[in-house]
Structure formats: structure tokens, C-alpha cells
Amino acid sequence: MEEKKNKHYLSGKEVRAIAKANAKEMRRLEKEKNRKCPKSEYTTEMKDPNNILEIEDLHSYFFTDQGVVKAVNGVSFEIPVNSTVGVVGESGCGKSVTSMSVMRLLQGPTGQIVSGSIRFKADDYKRDEHGKLIPVYEKDEKGEVIYDDVLDKKGNVVLDKDGRPKQKPRQKKRENGIGVYEMEERVFDIAKMPIREMYQLRGRQMAMVFQEPMTSLNPVFTIGDQLDEVSFLHVPGATKEIAKNRSIEMLNLVGIAMPERVYASYPHELSGGMRQRVMIAMALAGEPRLIIADEPTTALDVTIQAQILDLFNDLKRRINGSILLITHDLGVIAEMADYVVVMYAGRIIERGTASEIFHNPLHPYTKGLQKSKPTMKSSSDTLFNIPGNVPNPVNMPDYCYFKERCAECVAKCSGDYPGMIRVSPTHYVACHLYEGKEMKDE
């Protein structure tokens, strides 16, 4: 056993065994992803109706030739309606993989959600028995549906066989001219959904802003083309004109000065900050209830960063949505988040409200993270850093992953991986130091 630990290479036999096991598992999961099944199979109930997203015991693995990388290894947290949840952690701790899992964007066949559930409360269009959308009609004071005469292209009234003007009910419209349809709330388990069904959720119910604005826009289509596409997909009955108006409205919303000009430009003609705004506009065009922002400000300079964050805060209020904010920047989290989730090596080690995490960090890793943040007040020349590195993701130890780097290690740390300990109604920590300090339920 001792010998094996020091070995940094794999023998041909081992590689073949890994590849064979991986191929089998990947085939099974890919098949599941492309299967056809009735809606009931992935429709569930939320545990708490105030949440929009509940992730429970999520495992997302990458099947590589060196072995299975457990990038996300049993993550559970929830996002309450109309709040911002920040996920922090150093590079490679599984933040982005968690967000990609929610969107089901893990690059297959190597990246797969292996188990767990992601419950999402979707606000979907209600459909009649033919699968058609049901429009909402405008009603007068007495509660009766208003009828309009049907006009032909020239504006003349169309008559039916009896010579009476043809009439149709007037559909309710929003200020931007988009028709209103009946909606219904449904809870889906995204982890079990066939990938085909995800097309309905992506962009409309949940949208994502990626960390690389420079490469995240298709270089051969104009901004307008790429924005319009979202409206064509997600606004029922969208015409070219509606789509364009909407795209320009979105560009205005994200604070782009000359929306008409940007609409007609190609991505390479815009600056990084502009492109990130376009990405955000694209995410908003489908009016999602959940925006996943994966390090939205990492590639931007500080002044633009502040503007983009303001924009997010402003938008959250305006569209009444929730934000899942992934970042490694504690400053961003402090400014934005209501709840904070701290991840380390694919697991959650601490979570709680923003003030709990910032004023009362419990886990030694969270404390270390905060200490390593430069501040104006500190007088020392060197920054604190947490010694050591994240353990090798292929062969994770079965004791606490942070043990080797931890300054407050106790004897128990060599034992099993610590469970989640609830120290306040909202504050959880996974560390042996806090055993026995659980909050008692009365």
C-alpha cells in the first residue's frame, strides 16, 4: 500500500482497466441522457416551496484515463426565491462544475452527473391537450372577454359567410407587444431529465453568464443575430421585428450606450466589458427566473467589475429572479450574496448567510480564505497563505480533505470525513472541531 501511494504513473494494465470501466459507465449515462420518458419520471416536489433550486447530494464525475475525477462529490444547497447565493472556493474545487451540472452543460461523454438530484421550480407555459399554448385574453370590467374584428392585410374587416364581421378574442399583451400566455409552476429534477427536455429550460427558465466574455460569443454572427435567437426560441410567436425590439431593449437594460450600433456589430468589434454586457443581455432575453453567473467579472478590470455587479443587483430586483454567483473573489461575494457556500475539493465545507460566513467563519479553510484576502488595514508585508495544495482529485483520501493543510487539526481528523454540523438555523459546517456544538432543535 505504501508503495502504491508514491507511484505517479499507471501501468498499461491499470490504464486499460480504467478505460474499460469508464467506457461502460459513460455509455450507460449517455444512454440515460438521450432516453425518451414521460414527464412524470422527472417531475417532483420541492422540499421547501420558498426555494427555486434545491441541489441534493449531487455527484458529477469526469471519467478520465487517469481515473474517475470526482469534481463534485456530494454537494447539497438551495437557492431561495429572489436571493443571491454565492459559491466560493479556490480553482478546481468544483464551483464551475456545480453550475454546469445545473445547466446540464457538462461536456459529455467524459463529464457526467452520476447521482443526486437538482430540483428546479420552473414557470412553464401551460399547454392544452394538443400541446399548444393557451393565450390569456383581455377582459373588461364585467369579466367578459373582449372581442376584436379580424382585419386582413389592407386593414379591412373580414366578413364570415353570413356577412357578419369575423371576431376573435383579444390576447393580453405586455408593453413590449409580446402576448401573454397561461403559465403553470412545475418542479423538475434536472439531474434525471433527458437532455432533449433541457432545451425548454435553458435560456428560458435559467440562463448562464460565462467567465470568458472574449470567447463566449460566436465570432461569425452579429450580436443582433445571436441575441435575436434567444427571442425566437423562447418568445412564442416572435417575429423578426419583435425579436429585434426585444434585443435592443435588453442591450439598453444592460447599459450599452449605442444599442443599434452594437446590434449590428460582430463580437470582435467590441471590448471585453461590452461583450460581457452582451452576454448578460443574452442571458436576460429569455426572462429567466434563475441566472447562473460563473465568475462574471474575473476577466474584467475593476471599474467594469463594479458596474457589472451593480447591473446584476439591479436586474435581480427588476426581473424578480434569483442569482447563483460563482466566484473566487470574496469581495464580490460580500457585496452581492445573501447566502454563501464555501466549497473545497468537490465538497461543501461551510455554508450560511453572508454575515455568518464573514463575521463568524468556522471552518479553518474559510478562516484561511479570509485571512488571505488583502486589506488596506493590515500592516504586514506578506499575505497569509494556506500551506499546501488541493489533494489529487483522482484518489481522494477518506478522511477530511483539508487535514494536511489544516492548522487546527485534532486527532479525530484522521477518521471519517466529517458530516455537516448545523450550528445555527442557517449555518452549517463540515469540521470535527464543532462536533457537540450543534444547535439543538427545541
Binding site: L105, Y199, Q200, N218, V230, M279
Partner: protein, 327 residues
């Protein structure tokens, strides 16, 4: 844009001049010129006087120095006189731009190019979208076999199988000499004769284009903007055929540069295997017997097409990739 094209054409003229110098010098330096070969042949049937040799050399214009010879040739070309073929003394232009010569080669090349694109690009896309699946492996192996087979070998195998054994297609030649066909029947007979050569060329050329499509597609499919397109809620089909394909087209368009001359250059070996009177086998014959006017004209024609091809692919580049600005 017009200014750019004119500028490029001007530069092309210089390139063509350079090409012609190199070509002419090389041809004149060939170990056995046309006259030398003729003298050898005459020697076998009896003695040849020095006088006759000098006469022959003079008649074919090989008695001048290389430099003087080149300017003679250039002067004639400027007067649109490309000279006569040494072999049969007929005007070179008539010899090359003949329905049977370049016409045959062009038809074979054009039809096989169309099929090559129609087959190779979808194959490349499926191989890329199903990377490391059975489908990918089958396509890759099939295509690699195609790349690896030499055309004289593969052509002979097809000929033996479909013409000699199964008798589905004629063995060789351009038309059936025993029948006098007309109209539609003649056309069908022509197609039957062309089938095997075209099949050979298509199978042998699919490989490289399919590999290229597959590589480009894979690169594009792993890029960030494809992830963005998926995140929008586009179906996988739309992601591949709209967002990814437009980007895969960019490198494919650059390969157009080589395509235009290859349409007219003829498939030397395939044409010889199937006894077609294409330009490829004709040029090969002209080369071996040192027929300078034919080789010069033929190669200059190809050089001209190459230059035009490069210009066209640059122009196309500007169309498919908005990041490229031509000026």
C-alpha cells in the same frame, strides 16, 4: 475591394513571370531534349550528320542560349503565340484545350469533387459529433484505408472487380468503339466509362477532406461559444449545423485555393490506368519526350489557376469570416 483585387492581380502577374523563368530554365536543363531523343532514334536506323543535328536544333529553337530562348518564348506568348507541339506540330492551345483532353479531365475532376464534398463533410461532422464512438472509428478506418491506397493499385482492383469479373462497367477507354451511339445513349455510355475513374478519385480523396472537417469540427465544438449556444436552449442540431458549421467552413474555404487548379490538372495515374485521354496522361507523355511548348503552356495554365485560386480563397475568407478585412 476592386482596388484590392487589381493590386492582387498585378502581383500575380509578377509571380507568373517568375514561375515561367523557373519552368523554362528547368525544361532546358533536362538531360535529354526532344532533339536528343530524336537523334538517338535516327542513329539506330543509320548515321546522322552534324549538319542534320544543327538543322534539327535550329528548327526546334534549341540552338539558342537559355536566356535568349526564354525571351523568344516570352515574346511569342505576348503575341498570344504559344507555339506548336514538337510531337505532331499542331498548335499547343488546340492540343491542350481540347474537349477530349482537358474536357475529360475536367469532367472527372468536377464530378468527383462534388461527390468528395458531399460525402466527406457529413462524414467528418458525424465523426466529430460522435467522437470515440463506434461510428467515429468505422468512418476513420474506412477513410484512412482510402488515403493509404495508391491510385494505380486501387484503380486496378476496381477495374478487375467491376469491369473484368462482374462486367458492370467497361474496362477502359472513353467510349465503346464497336457501337455507334448517338444522343442520350452516347451520354449513358460516356457515364459508364467515367464511373470507375471517378469512383477511384472520390474514394482516394475523401480521406483528407474528412479528416480536416473532423478536426475543425472538434475544435469548434469544444469552444466557449458553442457552450453559450447550448446554454441559450438551442437544440443540438441547431448548435451543430448553425453555430459550429459556420465556423468549420472557414478553414474549408482556404482549401479552395488548391481546388481550382486540381480541377484542370487531371489525374495522371488514374487516367493512365483507365486509358482515358485526359490532360494528365497527355502531359506526362509530353514531359517524357521533352515537348517544351506543351509543358510550358500546360504548367503556366496551372500556375495561372493556382494564383486565381489563392485570390478567390482570400476573397471567400473575407466573406465567411467577418474578422478578416481585405485591404
Amino acid at each position: 475591394m476592386l482596388k484590392y483585387i487589381l493590386k492582387r492581380l498585378g502581383v500575380s502577374l509578377l509571380i507568373l513571370l517568375g514561375v515561367s523563368v523557373i519552368l523554362y530554365v528547368l525544361l532546358r536543363c533536362m538531360p535529354a531534349s526532344y532533339v536528343d531523343q530524336k537523334i538517338v532514334a535516327l542513329n539506330q536506323s543509320g548515321g546522322v550528320s552534324e549538319e542534320l543535328i544543327a538543322q534539327l536544333k535550329h528548327a526546334y529553337g534549341l540552338d539558342t542560349s537559355i536566356i535568349k530562348g526564354y525571351f523568344n518564348w516570352l515574346g511569342n506568348v505576348c503575341r498570344l503565340d504559344f507555339g506548336n507541339s514538337f510531337q505532331n506540330n499542331r498548335p499547343v492551345l488546340q492540343e491542350i484545350f481540347n474537349k477530349d483532353r482537358i474536357g475529360t479531365s475536367f469532367i472527372v475532376a468536377a464530378i468527383s469533387t462534388v461527390f468528395e464534398f458531399l460525402i466527406a463533410i457529413p462524414l467528418g461532422i458525424t465523426a466529430a459529433t460522435h467522437q470515440y464512438s463506434i461510428r467515429d472509428y468505422v468512418v476513420t478506418v474506412f477513410v484512412l484505408v482510402g488515403i493509404s491506397l495508391p491510385s494505380f493499385f486501387f484503380g486496378q482492383i476496381l477495374k478487375d472487380l467491376f469491369a473484368n469479373k462482374l462486367k458492370w462497367f467497361p474496362v477502359s477507354g472513353m467510349r465503346d468503339p464497336n457501337l455507334s451511339l448517338e444522343g442520350w445513349d452516347l451520354f449513358v455510355d460516356y457515364l459508364r466509362h467515367m464511373f470507375l475513374p471517378i469512383l477511384t478519385v472520390v474514394i482516394l480523396s475523401i480521406g483528407s477532406r474528412m479528416r480536416m472537417t473532423r478536426t475543425n469540427m472538434l475544435e469548434v465544438l469544444n469552444s466557449d461559444y458553442i457552450r453559450t449556444a447550448r446554454a441559450k436552449g438551442l437544440s443540438e442540431r441547431k448548435v451543430i449545423y448553425k453555430h459550429a458549421f459556420r465556423n468549420t467552413l472557414i478553414p474549408l474555404v482556404t482549401s479552395l485555393a488548391g481546388l481550382i487548379p486540381s480541377l484542370f490538372s487531371g489525374a495522371m495515374i488514374t487516367e493512365s490506368v483507365f486509358d482515358l485521354t485526359g490532360i494528365g496522361s497527355y502531359a506526362l507523355k509530353a514531359m517524357t519526350c521533352g515537348d517544351i511548348p506543351v509543358i510550358m503552356t500546360y504548367n503556366m495554365f496551372l500556375a495561372f489557376l493556382s494564383v486565381i485560386g489563392v485570390l478567390m480563397s482570400d476573397l471567400m475568407y473575407g466573406i465567411v469570416d467577418p474578422r478578416v478585412k481585405l485591404a
